[in-house]
Structure formats: structure tokens, C-alpha cells
């Protein structure tokens, strides 16, 4: 019967004569939005606005700490370039009148300890929590970074590439930072990229920008000069390829 079945299949459908394999050059596209309720923790040096110094650590405490994972699904939560995205595991979600709260404790050598409460609510699936560190003994107030200027809308589509799996593409859902290429300024928050897509009015035509995302405790960057209203950008994202 197996042979009969194969022959039947062969003749009926798959031998509808043709040359190309139906799956030729078809990639498997995988989304990363497993964790739906997320919070970006951005830790900077309050004196100059640069990313948190090396050795800065983050600890999650509180009753719901066990439900918190890094955006890539790892339980181990680390900062990279002062940034980490945390979120509730997929089986846990806040209820309408029952938000879920945790504490993020930041420690850095030579800086005061900072603790910030992070609350996940039904109506807010993404949020940014900025934490400015102050040097131990310093009384200087933290700097205030002015909001970036506004320009016309530009659409960016990011595709994550797996260096060792050319048949897989990743559509990242992640927070994006940016700065002008060659600038010494700190990266600024651009917005949340949903399934690889982000639309922003913070990019100036004719300028070249570095874009940065942090995923799985790795920092990935790509540059693009902006001359049009939409771009497709590709990032190598090996941390998203561990299937």
C-alpha cells in the first residue's frame, strides 16, 4: 500500500511536470515576539549620558521575579551597552486591575545603587525605563538629554540573519537605538520595532545613522544613509538563531 500511495501521489500531484523544487530558495521566517509584555531598561552614566560603565549589573527582585525573562527567552539577565529588555514569560500576563510589578536593582562599581520599580499593565505592552547612575559622593545633578529633532517619516524594515543558517530569517521585535554615524554622542531611543518594522520621524534626510539593538545580551549594529523614505536593513543576529 505504501508503494501504491507513493505512486498515486507521484502521478496525481507532485509530478505535475515542472523543473523547480517548490521550496527552492524559500526561507523559514521566524518572529521573536514570544515575550509580549516587555520593558527596556536603559542604564546610563548620569554625569555624561553615556552607556552604563562596564561591570554594571542588574538584578530583578520582587514577587514576580521568577516570571521575568530577557527578551531572547533567557533567564540570565545581563546588560549590554547599558541596555537589556526584560519581560513576562508568555504564560503570564497582567490582568486589568492587577498589574505585575518587579524591581530592577542596578549596581555599578563607583556608583550609587539604583532601584527602579517596573510595572507591567495590560494596556502597555512596551515601555522604556531610563535609569541614570550617579557617582558615589557626587552631588552633581544628572544631565538632561534634549529630545531629538523631528523630521519626515521614514520606514525601516529590519531582517535578522543567521550566519550559520542561510535558510532562516528572523523578524525581530525589539527596541531600537540610533545616533549619527561618527558622532561621539550616546545612542538615543528610536522606538520599538514590531516584527522587523519601525516607522520614525527622528531621522534626517541626507544623514547617515548607526542603528543599535540589544538582544540576548548581545549588541547588534547596522548603518544606513537616509536618502529615501523606506529602507530594508539586515542584521546578523546569531543570538536569535538557536533553534
Amino acid at each position: 500500500m505504501e508503494t501504491l500511495r507513493k505512486i498515486q501521489l507521484l502521478l496525481v500531484m507532485l509530478t505535475i511536470a515542472a523543473c523547480k523544487k517548490p521550496t527552492e530558495n524559500i526561507k523559514i521566517v521566524i518572529d521573536t515576539d514570544v515575550i509580549k509584555y516587555t520593558a527596556l531598561i536603559n542604564v546610563t552614566d548620569g554625569q555624561n549620558g553615556s552607556a552604563a560603565p562596564a561591570g554594571t549589573t542588574i538584578a530583578i527582585t520582587g514577587a514576580a521575579a521568577n516570571d521575568i525573562y530577557e527578551l531572547s527567552g533567557k533567564k540570565d539577565i545581563k546588560l549590554s551597552s547599558g541596555i537589556v529588555t526584560i519581560g513576562l514569560k508568555p504564560t503570564v500576563a497582567p490582568a486589568v486591575n492587577e498589574p505585575i510589578t518587579i524591581n530592577a536593582e542596578i549596581n555599578a562599581p563607583g556608583y550609587n545603587k539604583e532601584t527602579r520599580q517596573v510595572t507591567f499593565r495590560t494596556e502597555t505592552k512596551q515601555q522604556v525605563v531610563n535609569i541614570q547612575l550617579t557617582r558615589t559622593g557626587s552631588t552633581a545633578p544628572p544631565i538632561v538629554t534634549p529630545p531629538p529633532p523631528v523630521f519626515n517619516n521614514v520606514s525601516l524594515t529590519f531582517t535578522g540573519r543567521c550566519p550559520n543558517r542561510t535558510d532562516i530569517e528572523v523578524r525581530p521585535s525589539v527596541y531600537v537605538y540610533f545616533k549619527k554615524s561618527g558622532s561621539n554622542a550616546a545612542f538615543q531611543y528610536l522606538g520599538y520595532m514590531d516584527k522587523g518594522n519601525i516607522s520614525t520621524n527622528l531621522l534626517q534626510q541626507g544623514e547617515t545613522y548607526d542603528f543599535q539593538i540589544v538582544y540576548g545580551a548581545e549588541t547588534y549594529k547596522v548603518s544606513q544613509r537616509i536618502d529615501q523614505t523606506s529602507y530594508n536593513l539586515t542584521l546578523d543576529m546569531p543570538a536569535a538563531c538557536n533553534f
Binding site: L11, I26, I28, D31, V34, Y69, K74, P90
Partner: protein, 227 residues
């Protein structure tokens, strides 16, 4: 390999029987002869009515259908998955059988058209591994599945050969069709769910890959009853 050999042997025996059953007689005129045919083959099962409109020409009209299901016949390289395939081809058709050689009236040229009011193949690919996302183990619903759909609905011309008489000398015979439909240009679609939702972006590539999948070969056995 035994199955195709036995089919071929059966085909030759039946052909020999049919040809010899009517040898030594005057080539029969097809005019005004009628028969009903039940068939089975690569376009499934079906029924036809045949009528001789000229001494060398008969017309056939009928319908065929094939609902088909199979499991795990489709693999994507490097992606452990199970697959469920279903194919549904339903057609109504009108064919003309022409006997080009009077002394070999068992041999016919066949041409015509079919309208495939259903002609589609669907494959659902479901990841079969326990997928881990970091330290999280994902459920099947979270991972999702990918549907690959192809639709050939529409008009399709047919060209082929037929062996043994369409109108039995006595009441009953077995005859054969060998030919092909040229299906309409297929419309392809990929739909993903869960974490595989983004695979719909692969539809243009899939469409390009299967655009030449238009030949539907027909190998068919007809059981003919003369009215």
C-alpha cells in the same frame, strides 16, 4: 517496482484482448453509438457518457474527482516538521475521440477541455521538535504552522491517446487513456501562524517556484458499457 510491472502487464493483456476481440471484423462506425464509462486513474474516479457523432469521431462528457490526503510527504530541508497534504481535483470535461486509422480503430487521438472547479493542493507544515526559545519551551500554538496553498482552478485543455474501443463490440470492455491536462496558471499562497506568521513574505518566491507546475498527467482505465 513490482507494482508498475504488474500494471503494465495488465494493461497489455487487456489491450490484447480488446484488440483481438474485434479483429477480423469490419472497423465499426462510431456514428450514433452510445456508452457509459466509469473510470479510475490519476484524476481520481469519474463517469462519462460517450456518443458517436461521426463514423470516426465520438464525443465524451463527464466528471472526475479526487480527494487525496497524505502525511509526512513533504519536508523542508533543515527544519524538522510533520506535514499534512491534501489535494482536491474536481472537474467536468468534454473530450473528442478521433480514430485516425480505420484499420486500427482501437487507437484514438483525444482532445478537449476540462473545467476544474476545484483544483488545489494544501500542505500544512508543523514543527515537530520541542522548540526552545532561550530557556522557555514553546507550545505548539506559540510556534504555529505554515500552510502552503496552490490553486489551479479554471479551464484546462487536454491532449492524449486512447487505447481499445470506446464503444464495446459486445456490452462491456476496458479501455485506456494516456494524456495530460495543461492546467491554468497556479495561484500560490503561504500563510503562517504564531511565530511563523512572517512566512507569508515567502509567497512571491513560492509562486515563482511553482509557476511551471501546470501539466497534470492522466493515466486512466475506463470500464465501458455500451447502451
Amino acid at each position: 517496482m513490482y507494482f508498475p510491472r504488474s500494471i503494465l502487464l495488465l494493461f497489455l493483456l487487456l489491450l490484447y484482448y480488446n484488440v483481438n476481440a474485434q479483429n477480423g471484423n469490419q472497423p465499426p462506425s462510431l456514428l450514433d453509438q452510445k456508452s457509459v464509462l466509469l473510470n479510475v486513474g490519476t484524476q481520481g474516479v469519474g463517469a462519462e457518457f460517450a456518443y458517436g457523432v461521426l463514423p470516426e469521431l465520438a464525443l465524451r462528457g463527464g466528471l472526475n474527482f479526487i480527494p487525496f490526503k497524505a502525511h509526512n510527504v513533504f519536508k523542508i530541508s533543515g527544519f524538522n516538521s510533520t506535514s499534512n497534504l491534501s489535494a482536491n481535483f474536481y472537474n467536468v470535461h468534454a473530450l473528442a475521440d478521433y480514430t485516425p486509422i480505420k484499420t486500427a480503430s482501437w487507437f484514438r487521438l483525444v482532445g478537449g477541455f476540462a473545467y476544474f472547479f476545484k483544483a488545489k493542493g494544501d500542505i500544512r507544515v508543523i514543527p515537530s521538535d520541542d522548540y526552545k526559545y532561550g530557556d522557555l519551551v514553546l507550545t505548539e500554538d506559540q510556534i504555529g504552522y505554515v500552510d502552503l496553498k496552490v490553486n489551479w482552478k479554471g479551464l484546462a485543455p487536454y491532449l492524449g491517446l486512447a487505447f481499445a474501443h470506446i464503444f464495446p463490440r459486445n456490452k462491456f470492455n476496458v479501455n485506456f487513456d494516456l494524456g495530460t491536462y495543461y492546467l491554468s496558471k497556479p495561484k500560490a499562497d503561504i500563510i503562517g501562524t504564531g511565530l511563523l506568521e512572517g512566512n507569508s513574505s515567502q509567497t512571491p518566491q513560492f509562486q515563482s517556484n511553482i509557476k511551471d507546475y501546470r501539466w497534470l498527467p492522466i493515466v486512466q482505465v475506463n470500464f465501458s458499457y455500451r447502451l
